[in-house]
C-alpha cells in the first residue's frame, strides 16, 4: 500500500469520525474543537489533491478565522461546562433515519455511476495563474464573480458591524462633537 493511500485513509477516518462527533457531542466547546479537526484534515486532503493554494486558504480562513469566531461567540453566549439537554428521542431517530437514508442513496448512486476523465494534460496550478485568472476578462477569466464576491464581503462586513454594535454609544457621540 502506497504512502499516499495510508494518508488518505488517515484523513478519511479523522474527517468521518470527527464530523459525526461534532454533531453528536453534548458539550459545545468540544463540538467547536472537533470542527477544527475536521477542517484541518480537509486541508490535508486538498494538499493530497495538489491544490496548495486552496489548502492554505482552508487553513487560514476556516481553521484560523471561522473556528476562532465560533469559539469566541461560544464563550460570549454560554457557560463552558454547560451540557445540552438532548432533544427528544423521536426527533433524533427520525433525523438519523433521514441522514442515513440520504447517505446510502448518494453512495449507491456514486458507486453506480462511471466517471470518465478527459485525456487532456493536467495543468500546474501556481499563484501566477490563479491571480491572472481571477482578474482576467478573457474566456477563462473570473473577474465578474470576483467583483461580486468583493461586494458581498464588504456588505457582510458592514452588516456584521451594524447588527452587533450596541445602540447606546452612537447617540452620545454627536453632542460631544458639537461642543468641540
Amino acid at each position: 500500500m502506497a504512502s499516499n493511500q495510508i494518508m488518505f485513509i488517515l484523513f478519511a477516518l479523522m474527517i468521518s469520525v470527527f464530523s459525526v462527533l461534532t454533531v453528536t457531542t453534548r458539550k459545545i466547546l468540544r463540538a467547536a474543537v472537533f470542527l477544527l479537526f475536521v477542517l484541518v484534515s480537509t486541508s490535508g486532503l486538498y494538499f493530497m489533491l495538489n491544490y496548495q493554494f486552496m489548502a492554505a486558504i482552508q487553513l487560514t480562513l476556516y481553521a484560523g478565522g471561522i473556528v476562532v469566531l465560533i469559539i469566541f461567540s461560544i464563550l460570549l453566549t454560554s457557560h463552558i461546562s454547560q451540557k445540552f439537554e438532548t432533544s427528544g428521542w423521536k426527533k433524533n431517530i427520525f433525523s438519523a433515519l433521514a441522514a442515513i437514508t440520504g447517505a446510502i442513496l448518494s453512495i449507491v448512486t456514486i458507486l453506480d455511476y462511471s466517471f470518465s476523465a478527459t485525456k487532456e494534460a493536467a495543468q500546474e496550478v501556481d499563484m501566477h495563474l490563479i491571480g491572472r485568472s481571477l482578474l482576467s476578462v478573457d474566456k477563462d477569466g473570473y473577474v465578474l464573480p470576483f467583483e461580486v464576491i468583493s461586494i458581498l464581503l464588504l456588505a457582510a462586513m458592514i452588516a456584521a458591524i451594524v447588527i452587533a454594535k450596541k445602540a447606546g454609544p452612537a447617540k452620545t457621540i454627536l453632542p460631544k462633537l458639537n461642543q468641540e
Partner: protein, 105 residues
C-alpha cells in the same frame, strides 16, 4: 499525490460529512451548533468541487475558483450569523432556538 485513490472515495467521504451536517442541522437546538453544521455541509461541497476538478477536468480551474467563492460566502455568512446570534443573546439571554420564537420584543 492522488494516484491509486479512486474519485469515488473522495465523493463518499464528502457524502458522509454532508449528511453528518444534515443530522446536526435537524437535531441541534443551539444556534451556534446549527451554524457549525452548516459549515460542515459547505466544506463537504468544497471537497466535491476540488476532487471533480482534479480527476475529471485537470486542464481547467473552474472547480477551484468555485470553491474559493464558496469559502468567501461561508466566511461572510458566519460573520453575519454570529452578529445576529450575539444580538439575539442580548435581547433574550438565550440562543436556544425553541425559546426564541418572537420576531421583535
Amino acid at each position: 499525490m492522488s494516484s491509486g485513490i479512486p474519485l469515488q472515495y473522495f465523493l463518499i467521504l464528502a457524502t458522509i460529512m454532508f449528511f453528518a451536517g444534515v443530522y446536526g442541522f435537524l437535531t441541534r437546538r443551539n444556534l451556534i451548533t446549527i451554524l457549525m453544521s452548516v459549515e460542515l455541509i459547505l466544506n463537504s461541497v468544497n471537497i466535491n468541487f476540488l476532487a471533480f476538478n482534479r480527476y475529471l477536468f485537470p486542464h481547467k480551474l473552474e472547480g477551484m475558483f468555485f470553491s474559493i467563492f464558496v469559502i468567501a460566502v461561508a466566511a461572510s455568512e458566519a460573520a453575519v450569523a454570529i452578529a445576529i446570534i450575539i444580538n439575539i443573546y442580548r435581547r433574550f439571554t438565550t440562543i436556544n432556538v425553541e425559546d426564541v420564537n418572537e420576531m421583535k420584543f
